[in-house]
Symmetry: C2
């Protein structure tokens, strides 16, 4: 294990009531706006690239000591206010009967995707005992490696996003197969979504039990849907998933490109709603009820000159109104070629500009 | 020329006051909701595939008799209420000094894109005389080949979308170079946008003069921007372009994935605002002023079973409130594998479901 990683004495699952991040999740005032960045352990960072030069992505996810190092090194180096488990949305697929291959430069590929509604029976809902143990171990080790006041975020894909992966077999541009499936056979679609939910809910609870203080549900691809389709085909399932997580840890509910759906994401559940840069945060606050917001800088803002970038960060804080219940983040993951110095400058700027005087 | 194409005696540029489509552009009551589909002359259609088997895409755009056949055959076969010129957003690039190659399966590629702000001087704003004559000829021939009551839509890319192409050199996922360019040197960015506008405005006016009854401005990629960036870097330029078109023909202003920007698109100008499926049309109407709307069926709805698809079309008409000032369309171009029978069934359904009794 890297020398960067030192243990701490907090017990797993400690709620860290004084963490600014946890306060923001609960909409309580915090001394400054907490910040973390989606994909903060990623290619833009030298230490990460060095790890990846030695280990394929799948191995990094699979081996708890590597996942721990990736997550902890990034959190410590950036001085962010939360860490996220190093893992992948698709880790649930193999236990459901859909092995995934990660092809360099092409992204994940599911060898035998769900070709038609009648194949829903292929989806296994009772993973063999212990199939997620390596993830829970990574949660415990990452928790132990983090500073005591830095919460750890566990995560999983939302049912729609995972269903899309199972059906499309990988990334997609227009989600034709997924939508055609749900339009053609809403009954089989509901069954598929229920099966996925029945796997993801205990998986997320298991991460919380292993020490994650927060859970983020990524509906990365729900943004491709119309509001009516989201309400009909997705909302009931995501709502059931989030209800099944109980109230013991805060839940962040995020979807890429889902500015048009945020009220519906809120209705489906979550203590914090992730918002991307398509929506100003003041506008988002108006559309949402009493719920915290996370976001929403354009990841490309990190390619701007330092002064411009600082201005963008200030804008985001102003649009959030310097009110309780804002977690600063990007609207999407950090891009691979982002200048690393800018990332650190952003974290510093958020802390400095939001500090209560 | 195909036997499908027969001339008509309408003079070029005739405003076709009785066309339901033109009525909708002016927000006047029409006997039924007019419909056309973006990319209606496209790969999903047998006749188009047969043409493309013989002619590369660039040749189809370049030769007026081929462009005419593609546009007219599609409009006649589908019985839509408007035709659109068969052409490409990038036809303006070569005259500006940026030749484009169309690679099968990879899309357009600009060989030497704008690498940095200092290269804006490479953009030529005075195309040689006659460089767009082949387009104007295609407009005249298409106009002549269409039934007399079917308007012809001319089109061009909006300045932002064309600037992105010049800078990225082709399609892009995150528009990193484009945004980095505009953040790094707003002055060079403004100069670039002005140069593009100074080429596109006369190009669109030339299409109207050649007989196009309507002009559509495609800001295909503006949806990647935050509202603040759109307002600062794009709106003034698009507004100048649309003002430069005068009031002689209606202008449709459309951007893919720009549900979050529609008030700003309206502010930039246009008689008709294109809306995609991310936004319900009743919601769009509330956010917009007195302006017509075009849209907004999800192109993937055409992959649904016929009955479902008909239900989706009915939904769109209901959300538009069966009010004047709605042009039915998809929220984006028809996808290549769309079942052709469904496309025709959709057109029929729109006409039937919207007919005033």
């Amino acid at each position: 294990m890297s020398p960067h990683i030192k243990g701490n004495k907090k017990s797993p699952g400690h709620p860290l009531p004084d963490s600014p991040f946890m306060k923001a999740c609960r909409m309580e005032p915090a001394p400054f706006t907490p910040v973390w960045l989606m994909r903060q352990a990623g290619r833009y960072m030298k230490e990460y690239r060095e790890m990846r030069a030695k280990h394929p992505f799948a191995e990094m996810c699979r081996r708890p000591e590597l996942a721990t190092e990736a997550a902890v090194v990034a959190a410590r180096k950036l001085q962010v206010d939360a860490a996220i488990l190093f893992s992948d949305l698709l880790v649930v697929c193999a236990p459901m009967g859909f092995p995934v291959r990660y092809l360099e430069g092409r992204g994940p590929v599911i060898t035998r995707p769900l070709q038609k509604p009648s194949e829903v029976s292929r989806v296994r809902t009772h993973p063999q005992k212990g199939e997620f143990d390596y993830i829970y171990k990574a949660v415990r080790m990452t928790r132990a490696g983090l500073p005591g006041n830095i919460p750890l975020i566990g995560f999983a894909g939302a049912p729609f996003t995972l269903a899309s992966y199972l059906i499309e077999g990988g990334g997609s541009r227009n989600y034709v197969r997924t939508k055609a499936f749900m339009y053609a056979d809403p009954g089989a679609w509901d069954e598929l979504m229920k099966k996925i939910t029945s796997v993801v809910a205990p998986f997320l609870r298991g991460q919380a039990a292993a020490g994650a203080q927060v859970l983020q549900v990524f509906d990365s691809w729900a943004g491709c849907l119309s509001p009516d389709d989201y309400r009909r085909f997705v909302l009931p399932h995501t709502a059931r998933l989030i209800r099944a997580l109980g109230n013991s840890v805060p839940v962040i509910h995020f979807g890429t490109g889902s500015a048009h759906l945020i009220e519906l994401l809120e209705e489906a559940g979550g203590d914090v709603i992730g918002v991307d840069w398509k929506l100003r945060l003041d506008g988002a606050r108006k559309r949402l009820g009493r719920v915290a917001v996370q976001g929403n800088l354009d990841p490309v803002a990190l390619f701007a000159p330092r002064r411009e970038m600082r201005g963008f960060a200030r804008e985001v804080l102003q649009q959030a109104g310097h009110q309780p219940g804002h977690i600063f983040n990007l609207g999407h993951g950090i891009l691979p070629r982002t200048p690393e110095d800018n990332v650190r400058a952003l974290i510093d700027a958020v802390h400095e500009l939001s500090a209560k005087r």
